[in-house]
Subunit: 484 residues, 2 copies
Amino acid sequence: MRGMSKKGLTPQGEDFSAWYNELVYEADLVDLSPVRGSFVIRPYGYALWENIQRDLDAMFKATGHENLYFPLLIPMSFFEREADHVEGFSPELAVVTHAGGKELEEPLAIRPTSETIIGELYSKWVQSYRDLPLLYNQWANVMRWELRTRPFLRTTEFLWQEGHTAHATAEEALEETRRMLDVYATFARDYAAIPVVEGEKTEGERFAGAKQTLTIEAMMRDRKALQSGTSHYMGENFSRAFDITFNDVNNEQAYAHTTSWGFSTRFIGAIIMTHGDDAGLILPPKLAPHQVVIVPISRRNDDEATARVTAEAQRLATSLAEVGVRVKVDEREGMSPGWKFNEWERKGVPLRIELGPKDLEAGTVLLADRLSGEKDTVAIDQVASRVPGLLEAFHERLFERARVFRDEHIFEAETYEELKEKVEHGWVYATHCGDPESEARIQEETKATVRCIPLEGPSAEGTVCVHTGKPSGYARKVIFAKAY
Amino acid sequence: MRGMSKKGLTPQGEDFSAWYNELVYEADLVDLSPVRGSFVIRPYGYALWENIQRDLDAMFKATGHENLYFPLLIPMSFFEREADHVEGFSPELAVVTHAGGKELEEPLAIRPTSETIIGELYSKWVQSYRDLPLLYNQWANVMRWELRTRPFLRTTEFLWQEGHTAHATAEEALEETRRMLDVYATFARDYAAIPVVEGEKTEGERFAGAKQTLTIEAMMRDRKALQSGTSHYMGENFSRAFDITFNDVNNEQAYAHTTSWGFSTRFIGAIIMTHGDDAGLILPPKLAPHQVVIVPISRRNDDEATARVTAEAQRLATSLAEVGVRVKVDEREGMSPGWKFNEWERKGVPLRIELGPKDLEAGTVLLADRLSGEKDTVAIDQVASRVPGLLEAFHERLFERARVFRDEHIFEAETYEELKEKVEHGWVYATHCGDPESEARIQEETKATVRCIPLEGPSAEGTVCVHTGKPSGYARKVIFAKAY
C-alpha cells in the first residue's frame, strides 16, 4: 500500500464515528483479522501500548507490586463459585472443549478476567497475616465474546493488565483500591495528557462480584464519556468463594479482603478520541512512538545537495536521541515531502522537522507543531537543546486543551427536562436518588447513564433527584453522560 | 507457607530430575495450576522472564525489528494450507468450539505458533518490493497440548516471542535466519552466561514447514542437551500457502521468502539446569531479579543496635541502587539469619551481604559469593564501588565454569560402539550419512538424537557414517546427545 495517496478522513463534526473508524486504519494502528471482533495491533499502535506498559508498570512497581503470570484457561466450574461473577461473565466466554485431539472432561474458558483462578492460588499462598498483603499484577490477553466490536474500544480479545491484591483488613483493601485509581488518574494526566474524573460506579454499573467499583472517566471530542480504568474492592466475596483465609494477629481465622484493577488497550481509544482532530491523531509526547519526525527534502537532479541534507538529518537525529528524544528520519523514496507531512500529521507526531538544501545553507530548520499547526524557523544547532522543552510544553498545552474542552462541556441540571436537554451537549451533574429502576428509565429515555458519583464535585445536599423527586442517594451530584 | 523451614533438595548426582522438579517449586519460580500442564509463573520466576524480555527485546530493536500483536485464535482451516505445518501442529491444538453462548461456525484454535495468521496479513501488507522486508516480532502466549509436561521445559501454555519476517530474496531471508540465531547465541552468552553450540537441524528435526531450522543447543549439568532457541528459513512455503506475493524490481510477480524465530520461557529451564547446584539456583547476574541481597542481623534484646543495623542496611541498599545494582534488603521478621541465607542460596542470588552489630562497629560487611561459596570481609564504604565489578566477574566465572563443563563432556566417536558408549557421558561428535532411517534407529538404540550439524566443529571430510558406513551427509560431524 506504500506510496498510495490516502483519502482525507471524514470530519469529526460530520460523523465522529466514521472519523474514528477510518483513522484507526489510516494511521496504521490496527488491521482487520480473520477472527470476528479480534484485530491485529500493527507496529505503530503496538508501540503506543509498549510505552503505556513501560510507564504504568513502573508506577505499579513504585507502589510495591510485582508481576506474575496465571494460566490463560480457567475451568468452567470456577466461574460458578461467585454468583454475581458467573452472571456477569458467562454469556461472554469463549470455551475450549477439545484439546490434543480429544474432548476435554471439563470445558475450559479463555479468561475474561482472572479473579477466579487467582483466588484459587491465593487460597494456597495465604495462611497467616504475615503473608499479607499480596500485591500482584499481570500483563495479559483476555477474551470477552462481544457482539458489536470496534477497534480498541470493544474487541473480543484485548490486552490489559489486571492487578489482584489480598489484604488483612477492609480498610487496607479500600486504601489499595483508591491508590490504584489514583495511579490510573495520574498516568492519564501526566503521560497521556488526558484529564479524567475519578468517581464511584453506582450499584448497577459495578464489576460483577465487586462491593465497590471506582472508575476514571474521560471526555471524548464528541463529548461522550469513556471509562478508562477501573479499580474494584471485592470485600470478602472472592475470598469466601475461594477460601482465602488466614490466621490473624490474634490467631483467629479470617477472610482476606481482595481488590482488582484493570487498564487495557481500550485506553488507546481514549487517546485517539480525546486529542485527535480532522487531520488525524495528535499523540501525547510521552507516549508517542516518534516524538519528532525529520523529513529531509531532496533537490531534484542534485544528488550532492540531497546527500548533504540526508547526512545533516541523520546528525540531527543522533543529537536528539542523545538528549532522550524518540526521533525518526523519514528517508523513504518515492513519496513527496507533502505526502510525508500529511502522513505524519495523520499519525499524530508532535513535532515535525523539515530540512531542505536552503535550510541547510541558512543553518536552520522548519519546526512544525502538530497541535498549533504553526511552523517556526529554528537554528540547527539549537534544535537538540530546545526540543525536550518544546515536548514538555506540548504536553501541557495538549492537557490544557482537553481540560478546557471538558470543562466547557460539563453542565448542571436541576430538573429532568434540563438533564435531557443538556446531556445532548455534554456531561451533566444532577442529583439522583440511587434507585436502579430510575437509572434504567433515564437511560432508556436519554441514552445517558450515570458515569460515576464523582469523588469531588457539586454537593447534593439539600437537593432532590431530578427524576423521582426523592432525596439524593449520594453525597454528591452524579455525572450523567452518553458513553462508549 | 512463610517461615516454614524447607527440606533440602535431592542432590543432582542422585536424581537430577527430582532435583529440578523440587527446585522450581522450592525457589518460588512456579506453582501448580488447576489446568493440567499449565503452571503459574510466580513473581520470582516472572521477574527472570521480564529481565530476559527487556534485554532480548532491545537486541531485536537494535537489529531493526518492531513489535506488534496478532490475535490469539486462528481459524482451523488456516492450518491446512501448509501441508507439513498442519501435520506438525494439529495433534497439539486446543480448540474453541463455543463462544458467546453459541457453537461457532468454524472452530478456532488457540495459536501454537502464528505463521498462518501472520501469513494471511502479510499477504495484504506486501504488494511491492518497496514494502519489504517486514521485520516484526510479537511477545505472546501460545498453547501446545502436550501429554507429558514439566515446568518451563514443556508446558501446555508457554510465553515466548515469535519473530516473523518477509524478504524479497532467499539470500536476505537466509541472512536474517542466521542473524537472529546469532542474537540468541549472543544473548545466551552475554546475559545468561550459557555457552551454546549453534547449528542446523537435520531434516527430521526441522520446524513443521521450514526449509532450514537453525538452533542453539546448551548442555545441562546432567549432560543432556536443551534446544534453547530456534530460527527458521521457510523458503516460499508459507508465502505460497498464503499468497505473499509482490511486484519485484523488474515489475514481475514474485513470492516473498519468510523466516520465523522463537525463544520461550523454556530458557528459564536452561538457566536452572546449566548453572544450578545441590543448594539450588545460581542465577546469572544480568538476569537475576536480585543481584545482591542484604541480610541485616539483629542483636537479641538490643533494639537500638538492631535499628542501627537496619538503617545501615537501607543506606547500603540505596548506595548500591544508585550504581545500578538490583538489591533487596531482607527485613522479614520471625526467621533466623541462617534460614534467610539458605533461602537466598536456594534462590540463586549472586552476592549476599551479611551485616550485624559487630560488622557495623568494625565498619565492614561479610560478602558471600553464591558461586564460590566464599565469604569476604569488605569495608562498608567500598561496597558500592566494588559490587558492580564483582557482578561482572561473577558472570565471567559462571560462563567459564559452564564452558569448561561442556567442553569436558563433548567427545568424538569413530565407531558406532564408541558413540553408544560415550553418549552415556555427554555429547558426541560423529559422522552421519544423513539418512533419516538411520537417525531413527540410532535414537531407538541410544536414546540420543542428532542435536545439530554444528556451524563450527570437526570436519567430516574423509570420514564415513558411524552407523551405516556410507559417506557423510554433511560437511561436519554432527552432535549426538540425549536431550530435553
